[in-house]
């Protein structure tokens, strides 16, 4: 063990002698938020003529928070709010953070284009298909709605580690992660796209960007919102607040300690100014302009903590979130 320590000491000397002199913004976290952050990082580096370096990793929302709460990253991408356990980890390490919603993702329920009997779905119908009790029992379309044909029901969805799965189960089944287990799960959304496009009896869900790129192969199902109106997912519908309850906000968390670094501060300001435009470009839904301004205000006032208190919520308005008094 002694030799290990000597080696560590030697390594330490090496490291300190070669610490990076250049400005660096380190980001890690959710693969759902990645496309937006990547776009912002790309444009930011272009604008700064590469004087500031930005790195983005994909460790998943949970993996990203682990690194974030150890102080290894400046910013964490998150497709869901920070959880109680992660809040505790951060608190233990003395890491404070500002929570900033940066865009919406519209979870899109899709069926095969040859499916001609589905013109809309209610959350009650979705619940019938996806609730834990449906496992092994609800296996045919006509069991969900007698008007539908007697054909096998083939379900496709993201794996249980994904924030998309968490949000969908929360919105549809009322409890995060509570779902039937006998569906085809894949962490790779392209696999789900393939699955639904090849099976006439399939139904699946994933982020809007994957539907938008594969419009020819899939049919998006209009979802009946709490007001009783069936709404087809689109950027406009989410912005109008009509695509409920399957539109979810996505976030970045900025470490308060890193906010002292001018390059991190500048990057986040750039993110909140340009993020809306760039989010639209990568098929995510921008927030309202007022919300970006409000977020910017929270950021400059260093309002640390989360507006959620460690639990997921469905159907909450971003403008209300930003008004809340964040807890740590």
């Amino acid at each position: 063990m002694k030799s290990l320590q000597i080696a560590a000491a030697v390594a330490g000397v090496f490291l300190s002698a070669s610490a990076f002199s250049q400005a660096l913004v380190k980001i890690d976290g959710s693969s759902t938020v990645y496309p937006v952050t990547e776009a912002v990082a790309e444009e930011f580096q272009k604008m700064k003529k590469n004087a500031v370096k930005v790195t983005v990793g994909i460790s998943g929302t949970g993996g990203g928070f682990k690194k974030f709460c150890r102080g290894e990253t400046d910013i964490s991408d998150a497709s869901r709010p920070i959880l109680k356990k992660e809040m505790d980890d951060c608190a233990k390490a003395g890491i404070k953070y500002v929570e900033l919603p940066i865009a919406f993702d519209a979870l899109t329920v899709v069926v095969n284009p040859k499916n001609n009997f589905i013109s809309q779905l209610t959350t009650a119908e979705l619940k019938k298909m996806w609730e834990p009790g449906a496992q092994g029992k609800i296996t045919r379309w006509n069991q969900v709605n007698p008007a539908w044909p007697d054909a096998p029901l083939k379900l496709f969805g993201p794996g249980a580690d994904s924030g998309t799965f968490d949000y969908f189960t929360e919105a549809v089944n009322g409890k995060s992660k509570s779902s039937r287990g006998d569906f085809t799960a894949s962490e790779d959304d392209n696999v789900l796209v393939q699955g639904v496009s090849r099976d006439n009896n399939a139904l699946g869900f994933f982020g809007f960007a994957y539907y938008d790129e594969n419009k020819g192969k899939l049919k998006a199902v209009p979802i009946v919102n709490p007001k009783g109106k069936a709404v087809t997912p689109s950027i406009e519908a989410v912005m109008a607040g009509e695509y409920e309850p399957l539109a979810r906000p996505i976030f970045i968390y900025v470490s308060a300690r890193s906010m002292d670094k001018p390059e991190v501060r500048e990057f986040v300001e750039f993110y909140l100014k340009q993020g809306g435009k760039l989010a639209k470009e990568v098929k995510y839904v921008p927030l309202a302009d007022a919300d970006y301004k409000h977020a910017m205000d929270n950021f400059s006032k260093k309002k640390t903590g989360t507006a959620f208190g460690g639990e997921a919520e469905v159907g909450v308005k971003v403008s209300d979130l930003l008004k809340r008094n964040p807890k740590e």
Binding site: A8, L15, S18, D28, Q45, V56
Partner: protein, 308 residues
């Protein structure tokens, strides 16, 4: 005198045996084709998709949200630098360990245990090496999520391969060479440095290349230790930049490698990224082939000089 009937029986036996021979040859060719054809189909499919995408810009551009602008600059530079460190760490360690086990180690139960362990190490899933490296290199030694950590991780991964290859190569040297050297009064080290290493270098090199070819495609351990996905700058070149970087500063730089870049592209919604992934895959296979080609050439050159 053989009877005509006996002759007919013998001929029948020979014909039957030859038929079996043919059958086995056919089976062998079929088995071979399973591997060769699978590779060919995959490679050709990838080439058809990817090769049209290969142009100068693809090699000199950083990742981008626009598939047409995205390139593999940070990925191929990262892969080459990581491979360089892997070779620098694994070759001396592996060869020294192999030589020790063959030439120096006493034949007792401790050596036996070590040998069994080395064979077992070769079969450990690479993710386990990644987890070990995350604790040891990244946190304990404080190397961080750097090229150095990645190089050392992959070096650990291929160490057993190199040790085993070294030992095989040494065992292929005729015993008479050993004995001749010792008979002339050479010490073990003199025997090793003047005879064993030069004669076995071709075989060792083959093992090194097999190991490196495995390491170049590894994704799991590299992701575990924290390689990045979006990185739009290169490690600092020695003595370049302002203020000038040190000679070894690049080994502490954050990085990405080819397989990670490919993986990210295949999971993107836009179909154009799949083409990028195919192009990057083609480059990666080409890099492996180039390494193998180099190995064959060097082996040929080395073998030419050995005349027993």
């Amino acid at each position: 005198m053989l009877q005509a009937a006996d002759l007919a029986t013998i001929r029948a036996i020979i014909t039957r045996a030859k038929r079996w021979d043919m059958l086995f040859a056919l089976l062998g060719i079929l088995s071979l084709m399973v591997g060769v054809l699978t590779f060919t189909v995959l490679f050709v499919d990838m080439a058809i998709q990817g090769v049209p995408r290969l142009d100068y810009n693809f090699f000199t551009s950083f990742p981008s949200r626009k598939a047409a602008n995205a390139g593999i600059l940070s990925a191929w530079v990262g892969t080459i630098l990581v491979m360089l460190l892997t070779a620098l760490a694994a070759v001396p360690l592996g060869v020294a360990a192999g030589v020790y086990l063959e030439e120096y180690a006493p034949k007792n139960w401790i050596t036996d245990i070590i040998e069994i362990n080395i064979s077992n190490l070769a079969g450990i899933p690479s993710i386990v090496y990644g987890l070990l490296a995350l604790g040891l290199f990244v946190y304990y030694f404080g190397f961080g999520q750097s090229i150095l950590s990645a190089g050392l991780t992959l070096a650990l991964l291929i160490l057993p391969v190199i040790i085993v290859a070294t030992r095989e190569a040494i065992r292929a040297i005729p015993q008479s060479i050993h004995e001749g050297s010792y008979a002339c009064g050479a010490t073990t080290w003199q025997t090793v440095s003047d005879h064993i290493l030069p004669y076995s270098s071709a075989g060792i090199l083959t093992g090194v290349i097999i190991g490196m070819a495995r390491a170049i495609g590894e994704t799991a351990p590299i992701i575990t230790i924290g390689a990045l996905t979006f990185i739009a700058f290169l490690p600092p070149a020695p003595f370049a930049g302002d203020p000038p970087a040190g000679l070894f500063e690049w080994i502490f730089a954050p990085f990405t490698v080819m397989p990670i870049q490919m993986f990210n592209w295949t999971s993107r919604p836009e179909a154009a990224f799949t083409i990028n992934a195919a192009a990057a895959g083609f480059v990666l296979v080409f890099m492996t082939l180039a390494m193998n080609g180099l190995a064959i050439y060097v082996r040929y050159r080395l073998r030419k000089n050995i005349k027993w």
